[in-house]
């Protein structure tokens, strides 16, 4: 019996290893293929370098502004979700994957419904103040792009920082309190340093998502404005100049890699200070925390209310705008019933369920394998290259990956789609699983290894159960990413296959905007439900 268990454990380890290698190949080959046209043809490329600099600078400016906005909302929100109990806390945390699963077109329509020229805010103000023109026109400017992208992505920052904040070691803060430091002093001298790696880890993906953004930048940004992603799109899809597309893809990927490298250079300085010791303390109500002075309690109340208002205004209202967009059509709320009963929706739902769970499963297997390798090979987290490698897929946009896939795969299949999605999304799972793996004390691992019959025993009896929560959570994240992906299913063009995200776009391209918003709302609800299940053990 014991031998059988050991054999099963070894088989599982081998299978997981093979899966990880396959996912690595599924990433490297399309990436290499996207640079392949650089090796073909004799024609050179006439580049306007000042133009290139202008495009890169604009892309960078928008991405940086959006990331700072997401951090400005996400970090204070993380303080409350990690340290305080309040009504709606779970709901707020369950929104963290929403940015990953709702197509940007639907998000854009949600923002238009709230802040647009004819949006709810302008309509109300014009009626109350008897104005002829809408008072708020900021949506159609760089500020509009930054606000839309910043708030759209703030839950990602909130989720990562909140988890880290919950697990911060309390010893240093307690020591500081005993020595008489007040909460403000403790925050700026202890907490902020402990949180820095988590803040950076949360902001880097947000920066990259915004860096690769396309829809919102073109829709709300400067007229005629362009980004590197648009240039790749134009060259690969419109002018069919694959060589130029490859050059832009190389520039974009190199720039994203440079940002990641800069992050990995900064990271080790703080990482050693945060060996996530899994100490948890009870959450108090807002303003009821121990050690706080009366003025601090008031400040906490005020900032809580202010932050809540900002989140309601800039995040929840646009989400509500999507719902409003779906029920203000001719069919009203009946549109939901009509959509759910349509054959197209059922096919799209089946297609989503055919890919998203498997893609998420491959993601967590690959992430777990790499996290374990890293934990064993680099227990002190000092090998920059090994630490940076899992972030490599984040430096590749889905347009570049899709472009590589188009060059490489001529016959799209569901397994190819699953592999391609997993190859891009596994770093999201890696970050969470690795963090919880780091929280296992080295002594525990050493003891387990000494007392185990075989090496995989430690993995199955100690490591896997310790990472259970992060595995469930990262499964939900990767599920949401796969569910919201529209680029790869289109690029791979799998015959007789559909997904909910594609279906949402198709509705919009057939004049059915209310139905499209309804489908977007259903995607959002599915995602929130999934996350609530994932956080059940929280």
């Amino acid at each position: 019996m014991t031998n059988r268990i050991h054999a099963a454990e070894y088989s599982a380890v081998v299978c997981a290893g093979i899966v990880s290698v396959c996912i690595g190949v599924a990433f490297i080959f399309p990436l290499a293929a996207s640079f392949q046209p650089l090796f073909n043809g004799k024609n050179g490329i006439a580049f306007n370098y000042s133009n290139l600099f202008r495009i890169t600078a604009y892309t960078f400016k928008i991405a940086l502004g959006s990331t700072l906005t997401a951090a400005a909302a996400g970090i204070p929100a993380a303080f409350f979700t990690a340290n305080r109990s309040f009504p709606g806390r779970r709901f707020l945390l369950s929104l963290s994957a929403v940015p990953l699963c709702i197509p940007p077109l639907i998000i854009a329509l949600g923002f238009v419904g709230t802040f647009g020229m004819n949006g709810a805010l302008n309509t109300i103000l014009m009626r109350i103040l008897h104005l002829k023109n809408p008072p708020f026109t900021f949506l159609y400017s760089s500020a509009g792009v930054i606000i839309a992208q910043g708030f759209y992505n703030f839950p990602l920052v909130m989720a990562v920082v909140s988890t880290s904040w919950e697990n911060l070691p309390v010893d240093e803060r307690d020591a500081a309190r005993m020595l008489g430091a007040d909460e403000r002093h403790i925050f700026f001298t202890v907490t902020i340093h402990q949180l820095s790696p988590a803040v950076a880890a949360a902001c880097i993906p947000v920066f990259l998502y915004c860096f690769f953004s396309f829809m919102i930048v073109l829709l709300f940004g400067t007229i005629g404005g362009t980004t590197l992603e648009v240039e790749i799109y134009q060259a690969a899809r419109t002018t069919l100049d694959f060589k130029t597309a490859s050059v832009y893809a190389l520039i974009e990927t190199s720039f994203a890699l440079a940002v990641i490298s800069a992050y990995s250079k900064i990271k080790p300085a703080y990482a050693a200070e945060s060996p996530a010791s899994a100490h948890r303390y009870n959450r108090t109500k807002i303003g009821d925390a121990l050690y706080e002075s009366r003025s601090m309690k008031t400040a906490e109340y005020v900032s809580g209310i202010l932050l809540g208002t900002v989140i309601v205004l800039f995040f929840l209202s646009p989400l509500a705008g999507i719902l409003a967009g779906s029920i203000t059509g001719k069919e009203g709320a009946y549109v939901f019933i009509k959509i759910i009963h349509s054959a197209g929706f059922r096919n799209a739902l089946l297609g989503t369920l055919e890919t998203a769970p498997f893609s998420a499963l491959l993601c967590i297997i690959t992430a777990f394998v790499y996290a374990w390798i890293l934990r064993v090979r680099d227990p002190l987290g000092q090998n920059t290259l090994l630490q940076t490698l899992p972030m490599l897929p984040m430096a590749v946009s889905s347009v570049v990956m899709g472009y590589g896939m188009t060059l490489l795969v001529h016959h799209g299949t569901v397994p190819a789609l699953i592999a391609a999605q997993a190859a891009l999304a596994w770093p999201l799972a890696f970050r969470q699983i690795y963090a919880s793996m780091c929280a296992i004390p080295q002594d525990t691992l050493d003891t387990a290894e000494l007392l185990s019959d075989t090496p995989p025993d430690t993995l199955f009896r100690i490591v896997l159960p310790s990472c259970r929560e992060s595995i469930i959570s990262s499964f939900s994240f990767c599920f949401a990413v796969s569910m919201g992906d529209t680029t790869l299913p289109l690029v791979l063009s799998v015959p007789r296959f559909d997904t909910l995200a594609l279906y949402t776009y198709r509705l919009a391209s057939s004049y059915k905007f209310a139905a499209s918003c309804a489908c977007g709302t259903l995607l959002c609800i599915l995602c929130i439900l999934l996350f609530s299940l994932g956080k059940k053990h929280d």
Binding site: Y140, G224, L490, P495
Partner: protein, 345 residues
């Protein structure tokens, strides 16, 4: 030293993979393909509200072929995919290429000429001409581009393109990006056709009137129906949808005396198609009465067959007397960057 080795190995694997892919060319032929017609098309054609499903069902019933649609996104992506598969074509038909893409398709030699038997009696000369007269593509539908006007707005309806530069239209027009959208490119072609070499000056004057240039038709038209601006570039046939589905004549297509440019969509047989017989049968069927009658209420375009009677919703709001302008596609392609530079500065 270890780090250098890792970097070297990673770069080497990426480089060698790229070199391997660039050198290898796969060829795969399936014997079962003889009964299957593989059609590369775009999203809205094959969706459940598009004409694709009905046409495929009727075609399969009328012949022994089985239709497999492959969703490539849009016309440009169909061409892009076909181009990348040029040495080993997987499709039999490319459906959804238009008069802006035909020159590229012709120069890349990815299509085979085929003239359907009844073509002369159903296809008007103008459509045939718009697609190059060589039957690489058979037209199946068309529509002129037009500005769609919201009659409930408080701005007057413009009467010509020049009017759009007036201050009354400041931030009142939604356009689409010509780099990423067909109607966006259509509007640019329209300005080139009307103003000739003076199009650049026109765009300079037009800039203050543009609220946004959306990346695609869906986003732009979505903003328009949300009431963000009273004017949007779309198809002359768009208001017919609102009459039919929303029972409203609120949205009107504006006819300008100077004329309009049009989009003509066609389907062509892929060069080296694995099922040429099936492909020819499908093209024949596509311009038959049965298929052409499906188009008006599903595709919201005018069917290519001149003998088809349009539904009532078209008669109410789609003007049939607008002049059609022709243009040079190469000149329009060159104008894209000029216009984007004007707008970006």
């Amino acid at each position: 030293m270890k780090k250098i080795n890792y970097i070297f190995l990673t770069l080497l694997s990426i480089y060698s993979s790229a070199a391997y892919i660039s050198c290898s060319g796969k060829k795969s032929v399936s014997a079962e393909r003889e009964k299957e017609v593989v059609i590369y098309t775009y999203d809205s054609f094959m969706g459940e509200w598009g004409p694709g499903m009905q046409i495929a069902k009727d075609f399969e019933a009328a012949t022994r072929f089985k239709v497999t649609y492959v969703n490539c996104g849009d016309g440009a992506q169909i061409l892009s995919k076909a181009l990348l598969e040029k040495t080993s074509p997987q499709s039999d038909i490319l459906l959804g290429l238009d008069n802006n893409l035909i020159d590229k398709a012709r120069s890349e030699k990815i299509l085979t000429e085929y003239k359907p038997e009844n073509a002369d009696s159903v296809i008007p000369e103008g459509l045939h001409e718009a697609l190059g007269k060589d039957w690489l593509l058979t037209p199946y539908d068309y529509s002129q581009f037009a500005l769609i006007y919201d009659t409930q707005s408080d701005v007057p309806a413009p009467e010509k393109l020049e009017d759009l530069t007036k201050s009354v239209y400041a931030k009142k027009i939604i356009l689409m990006d010509p780099r990423t959208s067909t109607p966006g490119l259509g509007f640019l072609a329209w300005t080139v056709a009307v103003f000739g070499d003076g199009y650049a000056d026109y765009w300079k004057a037009l800039k203050p009137s543009i609220l946004t240039m959306s990346p695609g038709w869906s986003a732009g038209y979505g903003l328009f129906t949300a009431g963000e601006a009273p004017l949007v570039i779309s198809y002359m046939t768009s208001p017919a949808y609102h009459v039919y589905a929303d029972k409203t004549t609120r949205y009107k297509a504006l006819v300008f005396a100077e004329g309009h440019v049009q989009q003509v969509e066609g389907a062509g047989i892929t060069k080296g198609a694995l099922n040429g017989k099936g492909a020819r049968a499908f093209i024949d069927y596509l311009i038959s009465d049965a298929a052409q009658n499906v188009i008006p209420l599903t595709q919201w375009m005018v069917p290519a067959d001149k003998n088809i009677t349009l539904p009532d919703c078209y008669k109410e709001v789609v003007p049939g007397d607008a002049k059609t302008l022709s243009y040079n596609t190469e000149k329009v392609s060159a104008a894209v960057n000029t216009v984007m530079n004007i707008l970006g500065n």
